[in-house]
Symmetry: C2
DNA sequence: AAAATTACTAAACAGTGTTTACAAAGTAAA
DNA sequence: TTTACTTTGTAAACACTGTTTAGTAATTTT
């Protein structure tokens, strides 16, 4: 009963997100402004506010996309043996951070206004990252309690994450360039060895 | 031979930094604007640019202060046995991140303009963090090569850093509140066990 | 044809970092 | 003492930012 939309709300969201993703990849976080995103899809900045609550909201949706890509990347690693699977996960995780530096840093450095919490669906998606790691851990130590598996998964993955963070901060922290490549298997192997030997399941 | 300064350049830097630190602690990163910092010390924003290259530069100096505090906190941990010392370092590191959330996140999340690298003196101060960890590691495995010690120190510290990062991102990543408290000794112990048992030096 | 409804935007507001032209204040020379 | 010089510090401008609002233009319904 009134002027029809140029694009549906869904389409608009999609357009804005893909334009924002392109801007992010090509020009970095600084380029993510309402006016620039809008201009890239031929709309005015104000229109974005009809499909996103604010720019933070748009960033969360961008982060959801990124998490999807990360899940896809992790899903693609072929795993025969559990330990090899964990190595592959860790390598894929760090490789993703290296290949998508802008998206990855938006994912973990995007500061929301104080008091505003991360949306639930995003937290749940992050939780799934940890769960991925739990399966191989269970296979490695079938007798371990679920609580221990959860703890081990989060500890191991958190520490892998730490290496990814330091890798991104790059030259400042690690002297050599391939340093993080050597660090990663060292971390995973030694951590698992320590865990399994304590459990008497090392072989 | 001209109008004397109200405060010397050194004093001004000092004043601005302490005002900025106060703003940061009390109102968060968002409050770190040139006009607000300047107003807090009774100057205009433009005056800040006579003692700092830009606001990024001011932030780096703030980060240098923070690193100083962090070094002090780590220096205060009494260490008898090497393994206990490493535990104490890790606990102090994570405790610092928890006690000074704003300063800590400015330290690691402060995005500099692309192409602008972190100043050398700041990188050197970060390097000293790693070196702190090397000493106990050397004591644990006197026969280990220097290269291995360096690798182990950076891997272990990087992973501790990862847990600190996830702790700060808080509720989203870890369900329980004291989860990171249990994760930390688990990580350190298992990592060391894995390393030492591979070297045949575990006892 | 008139009325109603919706899509979209221009413009405003309050803020940001940073630069620049300038006034004010003091010292040094005359 | 007056003039010249030098330096400090700032107001104001510029080009941005996120966000809101008032209003126009386009379309459908009556």
């Amino acid at each position: 009963m009134a002027r029809p939309r140029e694009h549906s709300a869904e389409e608009l969201r999609e357009l804005a997100l893909s334009a924002a993703g392109r801007l992010l990849d090509e020009q970095g976080i600084e380029a993510l402004s309402a006016r620039r995103i809008a201009a890239a899809i031929g709309y005015s900045a104000a229109t974005l506010y009809s499909v996103f609550r604010n720019l933070d909201d748009l960033c969360w949706h961008l982060n959801a996309q990124t998490l999807g890509q990360l899940h896809a990347a992790l899903g693609a690693v072929g795993g025969s043996e559990p330990r090899a699977q964990l190595h592959a996960y860790a390598a894929a995780y760090v490789a993703f951070a290296r290949a998508q530096p802008q998206r990855w840093s938006l994912l973990f450095e995007h500061r929301t206004s104080p008091g505003v919490d991360i949306p639930d669906w995003l937290g749940a998606s992050i939780e799934r990252l940890f769960e991925r790691v739990e399966a191989p851990l269970r296979a490695l130590a079938p007798a371990a309690s679920e609580a221990d598996i959860r703890l081990q998964a989060r500890t191991l993955w958190g520490s892998v994450h730490g290496l990814a963070v330091l890798q991104q901060r790059g030259k400042l922290f690690l002297s050599g360039d391939q340093a993080s490549l050597r660090m990663l298997p060292t971390l995973v192997d030694q951590y698992l060895d320590g865990w399994l030997s304590a459990r008497g399941e090392l072989r």
